[in-house]
Symmetry: C3
Subunit: 202 residues, 3 copies
């Protein structure tokens, strides 16, 4: 893991924890529930990814810095909720950085197990979006990622870009930097232009 991906991963953990904690507070959860939601949103996707790849126990349950940051971010959100509920715009961009970083690091991990496009794309996408799905399921809601926005699609594209560049012979380091940047740009464009996927009128 290189420095840039390491830093962006921490930005993602903070942004994802805050989004989970805010959802927990809105759902009238107590302190424990808010911490669990922050933790699961930030680290749940990576845990599922590890299970799918047979990496047990999952890194997110053994490497202490990640959960520490997730729990502290959730606690801060609980204590300073009024502030956090007023910084939605910066959080949206921090979340975009996390989405790109998680998709790329998940893809990289899957690629090291098997150079299989399906595995790389599903694991990369689950790493980036699985935490949000857990957050919404624990909140008794249809996962947001399935109904609107151009979000999981960005993770799929990012994983595909990672896979393609590696197949073309680029190193993990170069591929990571390039696919992280492209993925982030796509997500920012999706936010700014309010991209949406088509739906069927029932």
């Amino acid at each position: 893991m290189n420095l840039v991906l390491d830093v962006t991963n921490y930005i993602g953990i903070v942004a994802f924890s805050v989004s989970g904690a805010i959802k927990g507070i809105k759902k009238n959860m107590d302190l424990l529930g808010v911490l669990v939601l922050g933790f699961s949103t930030a680290l749940g996707g990576g845990i599922i990814a590890d299970l799918l790849l047979g990496k047990t126990p999952p890194t997110n349950l053994t490497y202490l810095p990640y959960p520490t940051v997730a729990l502290l971010s959730s606690l801060f959100t609980f204590v300073f909720y009024k502030i956090f509920s007023h910084v939605q715009k910066p959080l949206l961009y921090a979340d975009a950085i996390g989405l790109a970083a998680f998709a790329v690091s998940g893809s990289s991990l899957a690629y090291s197990v098997s150079e299989n496009v399906l595995l790389v794309v599903t694991v990369g996408t689950i790493t980036a979006t699985g935490g949000g799905v857990i957050r919404d399921l624990l909140s008794n809601e249809v996962p947001m990622v399935l109904t609107r926005d151009f979000y999981a699609t960005v993770a799929i594209l990012g994983s595909l870009i990672y896979f393609s560049l590696r197949q073309l012979g680029y190193s993990d380091l170069v591929t990571t930097m390039v696919s992280f940047t492209i993925t982030l740009v796509i997500r920012v464009m999706a936010i700014r232009n309010k991209w949406e996927l088509p739906k069927i009128k029932v």
Copy 2:
């Protein structure tokens, strides 16, 4: 895997994907959500079964034909939704074929890991019904399989029949064909006679 089970597995994947995709469309999901629901309904049960048996990465995330069929079926359902919403009856029988095929192939896989009746029955049943449970959870509904119909019970019976025949000394091939056929017949009888399990009035 023999030819009959291979063909019936594909019929099941198509039927399960279509049921997932239709549910996603009804829940107002976008194209990505509809594809995820079709994919999860068709392949989620098998993925959980592989995780329980320690087979990682799961076959459904590495062997390309299954997901390709699942995603294409979901895409067709999205594009031609009006047609698919008018073929419920044939879909119900295609689903019955899938239920029997998945229960038997899940049981066969579990039996190859351990000749344990509990493991064979739970893994066979989860392979056949786990996808539908995921579909309903992602749709924010109580899993249909827990509340009505004679459906998961058919998978349990099919897995028990598979286990019993193997214990009696029959080969995987013979056992597969016989237990698939009996399971399918039970499910068709359940559909035709509208079998239901008892409930407690609260």
Copy 3:
């Protein structure tokens, strides 16, 4: 596993199964649904714990006595529902015994894999509370453990006590007995004094 933990584990399985079965009945599930909910509530936490630790197939799907007790308890609850719905108080204390026993046995299992405080606490807590979360998710409700009561916090404290005593050099046997007892006492005090964690008013 020593005798006391073995006995308390069975008390927990009965209490958890009954709580799952009662929820299933209240949610208008049929016999199959009630059995699945009882089974999942009692054994689901341990199954997730085994998956996280890489122990496949999970013990709860291969060792027959546990599931047998869980299914029989659920069946009894289904048949004698009127009686079970009138013994909430004793069930609450049986549940407390299960909570303490599951947290300690989960912690012990995790500790045997890795002396990592995060892993021990998350696996201990998931072993004790994961089944209840599955029960509530299958019932289409926000998991109770996230919104009120002093329940998962007890499992966290119990796992922390187990970890600390082991680190201080005490044997698994002594640590198990001491941390089980303290955990149970904390839970009983929480019930009697109606302890709650803080919440944020939104």
